[in-house]
């Protein structure tokens, strides 16, 4: 009797030491996308790591799995190529090369589980077709399948209501308008749509299926304007929905305008609140002991930026009647925070930072425009602007909405407007000077993040390119750049005027 009990105890002891686990299901399943279509793959969460059954993967990728009972390891074979993994170490040997895994393989009953990263890290290298795991959108893409990322966002609740769809990488897009719906068909096998916003303004609802995005318009909507542009980076579709002509004339009689749903109201850029260009800040990059880039012939970035800023100020003030505040008007050091403070304290409606660029290769040349890319904290701040807005009394008895937002994220609510301004800058610059390899970019630029207004940064030339360093001193070239910057400011001003017009 006792022997039996002790043997059972010993066996239990051994079993306890054997890795075994019970997990929970994740919030949403993983979706497999292949040429044949899409289907869900079950996954399990164990100790914050997500696992998938090795048997499921074996069936999916035609792998053969052999377990070495003695050593506890597993050998996965595909067309003579092998992966060896063990339950003790968070790594696998893939065709003899060690790759790190977030967790070792685990056991749930009779099944073997591998961390999700096992797919791109261990299986992808031995597999014939490309395998891509997109964690954010929970897609596992196998084979040569075109699955572009599609970002949909409201630029303005309007009217006119403006919606932008960005398709990355650029692909053929067909657009059409029928039966009060705008259809955007993307030449792809499937779409990776992060979030489909609810309707807003004159758009009742948005639906995404396999390769088409359907935008349902409100009965009050007129004929929409649809514009498609393609750059090296993306294909952009902008849908602008005006109020129907009959609605505009009838507008005064029906009692209060229908209440706009709260969600799209939050999406409307707060820039529309100020919505007039009265003051702009021109920021001449670097200065003082900070020379910025130094060209091979000794041209200093801080001088080029100051020259351009002065010319732009003269042009904007004399021709456009907009007040221009400079962050520096001589050769002195101004910290990045001070530059933002000058802009915020002068209640500027637009911020333009001027710089000159450098690349590791002397061949690179051309103008490039940047606007701020938000990280997760910034995106949260952008979404929550409406929630943190306070309506406070101001001098004279009026009330004014005040956004409570961290200083270093002041730019967050203006990113959409900044993106429009940046596109205008890029388009105008291209008419006058060569465009750089990435003419329009989104990047975490320090000087833009604290500006509480639409803001962009222009790298006017590459001083690391000798031809551009030579040309940048010519009156002709500088004049071209400044004219382009001015034209973009004019366009941005008229877009603000148009959106606030009654």
């Amino acid at each position: 009797m006792r022997t039996a009990a002790l043997v059972v105890l010993a066996v239990l002891l051994v079993l306890v030491c054997w890795p075994d686990a019970q997990g929970t299901a994740p919030a949403s399943p993983l979706t497999l996308v292949t040429r044949e279509g899409r289907r869900a793959i079950a996954t399990t969460v164990l100790n914050t790591q997500e696992f998938v059954g090795l048997d499921d993967l074996a069936a999916l990728f035609q792998l053969s799995v052999r377990e070495d009972a003695l050593a506890g390891g597993v050998t996965v074979t595909y067309k003579g190529r092998t992966v060896v993994a063990s339950p003790d170490q968070p790594m696998a040997s893939v065709n003899g090369r060690v790759v790190a895994l977030p967790a070792p393989i685990a056991r749930a009953g009779r099944r073997l589980l591998v961390p999700l990263d096992f797919i791109p890290r261990a299986i992808a290298p031995i597999y014939d077709a490309p395998i891509e795991l997109r964690r954010a959108s929970r897609l596992l893409i196998v084979g040569n399948v075109r699955v572009p990322r599609v970002a949909i966002r409201f630029d303005a609740a309007g009217p006119p209501t403006r919606l932008t769809l960005d398709v990355v990488p650029p692909l053929m897009v067909n657009t059409g308008y029928e039966a009060s719906r705008v259809l955007v068909r993307i030449e792809a096998d499937a779409l990776d749509v992060a979030t489909v916003p609810p309707g807003g303004g004159l758009i009742d609802q948005i639906r995404a299926d396999q390769t088409t995005i359907a935008i349902g318009l409100s009965p009050r909507a007129g004929t929409p304007r649809i514009a498609t542009t393609t750059t090296n980076e993306s294909t952009r579709v902008v849908v602008e929905v005006p109020l129907a002509a009959s609605q505009e004339t009838a507008a005064p009689s029906p009692a209060p305008p229908p209440p706009t749903p709260p969600a799209p109201a939050a999406e409307a850029p707060p820039a529309l609140r100020t919505a007039k260009l009265q003051t702009m800040v021109v920021d001449a990059g670097h200065g003082g002991d900070d020379n910025g880039v130094r060209g091979a012939k000794g041209t200093l970035e801080k001088q080029i930026t100051l020259d351009a800023a002065r010319r732009l100020k003269t042009l904007v003030e004399s021709r456009l009647g907009v007040r221009v505040v400079m962050t520096r008007d001589d050769d002195r050091a101004v910290s990045l925070d001070e530059r933002d403070a000058i802009a915020n304290n002068s209640k500027a409606d637009l911020f333009l930072s001027l710089h000159a660029n450098a690349s590791p290769s002397a061949a690179v040349k051309g103008a490039e425009v940047y606007y701020l890319r938000l990280d997760r904290a910034g995106e949260d701040a952008r979404r929550n602007t409406a929630a943190t807005e306070l309506i406070l009394p101001v001098v004279g008895g009026a009330m004014r909405p005040i956004d409570i937002i961290p200083w270093d994220l002041a730019q967050a609510p203006h990113v959409d407007a900044s993106s429009r301004f940046a596109s205008m800058l890029e388009e105008e610059l291209e008419k006058h000077v060569p465009a750089g390899p990435r003419p329009l970019q989104q990047a975490p630029m320090r000087v833009l993040s604290g500006a509480n207004m639409p803001a962009a940064l222009v790298e006017m030339v590459y001083l690391s390119n000798s031809e551009q360093e030579q040309r940048v001193k010519s009156d002709d070239f500088q004049g071209g750049i400044v004219q382009a910057l001015y034209d973009a400011v004019v366009r941005f001003k008229s877009s603000l005027d148009a959106s606030t017009a009654p």
């Binding site: 006792r2 022997t3 506890g72 790190a100």
Partner: protein, 196 residues
Amino acid sequence: MNRKRWLQVGGIVVVFAVAVWMASTILEHVVSPAPAPSATPAPATPAASVPHIIATLYYGTADGQGLAAIKREVPLGDGPREQGRQILESELESAPPPYVSLIPQGTTLRAFYITDRGDAFVDLSTEVSTQHPGGSTNELLTVYAIVNAVTANLTSVERVQILIDGKQADTLAGHVDLRRPFERDTVLVRETKSTE
């Protein structure tokens, strides 16, 4: 008497079972790293006996327009932190031709650590800022070469914060915001190649 014997036998069984388990575990640790180095092609470096991993490092493309993701041998580190240190040490070395180095020469790694939340801190010497050639393009390439080298190879790392001389820094040369951690970004990657 009888009872004592049974207890003895039982004790031996338990001890034996534990010993078998321990032996198998130890063997596993001793045996499993072996196949990796033996199966890898002989590294170009003389230290052939040191086990290596194949890591993805990032350099400037020859045309200066983006990042090249290059597979190179990096000494095997014990755990993610040590492995990260090895990867960064290799990343700081000059680029193999035809690629271009993006991190100023003379920059050294002061420290590397990873928090439980998956934030890695890369602490670099001041040369990374004082010797930096400047320009938004150069600065973005430098930052993402470092960030991608860490995140592409260490799956436990979600975000990377760059420190200069042990302290939080504003920027390298006046453009890219270093105050908050970065996530992996492959937008700048133009080329992917395995060397040799």
